[in-house]
């Protein structure tokens, strides 16, 4: 054999061995599991409207991704070729417990990634721990803007927009549809979420409707459930617009009690998380209330192949249509799939490092279920999305809640630009907003 032939033969053999090695590695990866901690309120007051719909979406997405059943472009099996195995952890019990649970998930149960957290308190507590443990973590639902405005993260992402969008969108909707509003008032839960929501809404109203005036806000405590005195107070001198970021059982109780006392006939009620209770309340939700969905989700969702698939598959399986927490969870799983798919492609078949996975999502823009997610804020870790508001109307023919007068606001119209603090942005007249 000549040297030339020997070299040729060696090259062919090397290629064959390399090919075989890649195939073996790919097969191993295909068999490897991606263990994902999925955290949400599965018990307690937030379970019904938030935790359970989110968990249902998680179960559906895990099965669909593993089977390759999500519509294109997400119709490949698994995340980075790996089968997802979900571990469900209850978020109830406070932030200290969540930090312990997080460490337990990562260090003892060996999860590779975490998707979770409805409460802003949980997100604020867990994010530094995720960073310390270098674990790829997607915050799917919590609202506080402080996560990425007060700190920088490498491994923590949030795939839903933060709460500033809800309040700015709400104020813009009032300006768009009820531009002659002179008075407005808020009733919000007396903790971070309620206080931040009212602050942002009040500031945004002063920006978009400078002639309007805020009446003294009301601050019932979270899970109070009884709003007789507050409803009377609002009835004594009803504002033209009543803003509330109530959620869950508190929102349902407030709607039931206030509609029995005809408050909705004397003030325009603006429920920033109203979409989450539309199906549960059905016809008990009075016609004419303004509802938001923390993004263009649920009955406010734009019809796309992906959104139709989620809505139909979810309804077929759980007997009810998905609400915005389900959309938030489903889009977080899509984000995770994108991150692992990108990282697997970059790593050439071997199991990707957490840095590769994080790089696979950072600054990415992708289509989710009826909306576009743009990882634009927080140095590419925090999403912005469009949002929408509309007016609820019960359709007695179909026996379903419908929505009228929907206005969808582009993401850059209701979210601050990159590198700008939310409150400063609103106070400064929302400079650079692209509406």
């Amino acid at each position: 054999m000549s040297i030339k032939n020997l070299l040729r033969g060696t090259s062919v053999a090397a290629c064959l061995v390399a090919g075989a090695m890649t195939a073996i590695s790919g097969a191993a990866q295909a068999q490897e599991k991606l263990k994902v901690g999925v955290v949400g309120f599965y018990t307690g007051a937030a379970a019904g409207p938030f935790g359970i719909p989110a968990r249902n979406a998680a179960e559906l997405m895990v099965e669909a991704i593993n089977a390759g059943n999500v519509p294109a472009p997400y119709n490949t099996k698994g995340a980075g070729g790996m089968e997802i195995e979900a571990v469900y952890i209850d978020e109830s019990g406070g932030t200290t417990k969540q930090v312990t649970e997080y460490r337990n998930m990562v260090q003892r149960q060996g999860v590779d990634a975490v998707i979770g957290y409805i409460s802003s308190g949980s997100c604020l507590a867990v994010a530094p721990v995720a960073e310390e443990l270098k674990t790829f973590t997607i915050l799917f639902d919590c609202g506080t803007p402080r996560i990425f405005e007060d700190a920088d993260y490498q491994y923590v992402f949030r795939t839903s927009a933060h709460a500033t969008m809800d309040s700015v969108g709400a104020a813009r909707y009032i300006a768009t549809k009820f531009g002659d509003t002179k008075t407005y008032q808020g009733i919000n839960q007396n903790y971070a979420w309620g206080q931040d929501s009212w602050r942002d809404f009040d500031l945004a109203m002063q920006s978009v409707l400078p002639g309007s005036e805020a009446a003294e806000p009301l601050w019932p405590k979270i899970f109070q459930g009884q709003y007789g005195a507050e409803i009377s107070r609002l009835s004594v001198s009803p504002p033209e617009v009543l803003h509330t970021s109530f959620w869950g059982g508190d929102l349902e109780s407030f709607i039931l009690q206030s509609s029995a006392r005809s408050l909705h006939k004397r003030t325009k009620m603006l429920l920033t998380t109203g979409e989450s209770v539309t199906q549960r309340l059905g016809r008990k939700l009075p016609d004419g209330v303004i509802i938001g969905a923390r993004g263009p989700y649920g009955i406010l969702a734009k019809e796309t192949e992906l959104s139709k698939w989620l809505s139909q598959t979810f309804a077929d399986r759980f007997g009810t249509k998905p609400t915005f927490p389900s959309y938030h969870m489903a889009q977080a799983f899509i984000a995770m799939k994108i991150a692992y798919d990108n990282a697997a492609a970059a790593s050439g078949g071997s199991k990707p490092s957490v840095d590769d996975v994080a790089a696979g999502l950072r600054h990415k823009t992708f289509e989710a279920f009826g909306t576009t997610i743009d990882m634009k804020l927080g140095k590419g870790q925090q999403a912005i999305t469009p949002t929408a508001y509309g007016i609820a109307k019960w359709d007695s023919d179909t026996g379903e809640q419908t929505i009228t007068d929907v206005v969808t606001y582009p993401a850059e119209c209701v979210n601050p630009p990159a590198g700008v603090n939310s409150v400063d942005w609103i106070k400064g007249g929302m400079q650079g907003a692209k509406c």
Partner: protein, 298 residues
């Protein structure tokens, strides 16, 4: 004037449902000297069972007004079940032990009952709105009130009057007062104290369940409602005096009116006004408004 009217009515409505719960709590403490933390679970069970039964009642097409009787039937049924289960089955074995141990036993019962609620009803919230709007509403100036809320005030007044009559105008009631005053002496005079304990616990549990049952049409019945109400009920009995029926009435009125006044006049302090009042009362009357100083037994 309208604000004053609103404060009065709102305060009375709030006080009425809190009184239902606090009455049962203070009755059990007065007779048995047991600080029953599980009382919050009685409220929650009453609310859940009532919401479920009302939903079934209306879905089945039964007469609308029958749903009010259904709430009472549920409260009584649950009160008997819990009374027998907890007092006869558990607490009876604890009598004579340290009060702290008995409090811990009721706390453990509370935690288990909360889990039972989740086991039976899951994490979802329930509501049964129909009875709330059944009685229509009434207008005071620009204020609309549901007649159901005003009926709650009537129910609380009727229960307060009934309790007073029971304790002061019946032989059994006077014997119960004797047990409240001094259990050992009552037993020495031949009163069957243990039977009074069982009956009192059943009545107390029924009142707790009734509070939940009548509130179910007003609220979203969700996990955790028992904790919320037991904290307020404790505040009421501490303000009024542990074990005092009059104390429960006045304590409920103080809490209800203070909260309503805060909402209307100074919303910023709504969150802590009840505890501010409680602190003030404890500074000047550590035994509560209606507790007499007890002579020390030697």
């Amino acid at each position: 004037m309208l604000t004053a009217t609103a404060i009065l009515i709102d305060g009375l409505i709030e006080a009425s449902y809190l009184f239902l719960v606090a009455l049962g709590l203070t009755l059990i403490f007065g007779v048995m000297k047991i600080l029953n933390v599980a009382h919050g679970s009685f409220y929650a069970f009453g609310a859940y069972a009532s919401a479920t039964a009302i939903g079934w009642w209306f879905a089945s097409g039964f007469p609308d007004y029958g749903s009010f009787a259904l709430m009472f039937a549920i409260a009584i049924g649950l009160g008997i079940i819990f009374g027998l289960l907890l007092e006869v089955g558990l607490l009876k074995r604890m009598y004579g032990k340290d009060e702290v141990i008995i409090v811990l036993v009721t706390f453990a019962s509370f935690l288990m009952l909360e889990d039972v609620i989740i086991w039976i009803w899951g994490g979802n919230a329930y509501f049964a709105f129909e009875p709330y709007s059944l009685l229509g509403d009434i207008q005071f100036g620009t204020l609309f009130y549901s007649n159901y809320d005003l009926a709650l005030i009537g129910l609380a007044v009727a229960l307060a009057a009934g309790t007073w009559l029971l304790l002061n105008r019946t032989a059994k009631g006077r014997l119960l007062l004797a047990v409240i005053h001094d259990t050992e002496m009552a037993a020495a005079f031949g009163i069957n104290v243990k039977r009074y304990f069982t009956v009192t616990f059943i009545i107390g549990a029924t009142l707790g369940c009734l509070g939940g049952a009548v509130m179910a049409p007003k609220i979203s019945v969700a996990p955790g409602i028992g904790v919320e109400v037991i904290v307020l009920a404790f505040a009421i009995v501490v303000i009024g005096g542990m074990g005092s029926i009059w104390g429960a009435i006045i304590g409920a009125l103080v809490v209800g009116l203070a909260r309503a006044a805060a909402v209307h006049l100074l919303p910023e302090v709504e969150l802590f006004v009840i505890y501010a009042v409680m602190t003030l009362v404890l500074i000047f009357r550590p035994e509560g408004l209606f507790m007499r100083q007890k002579a020390r037994k030697i």
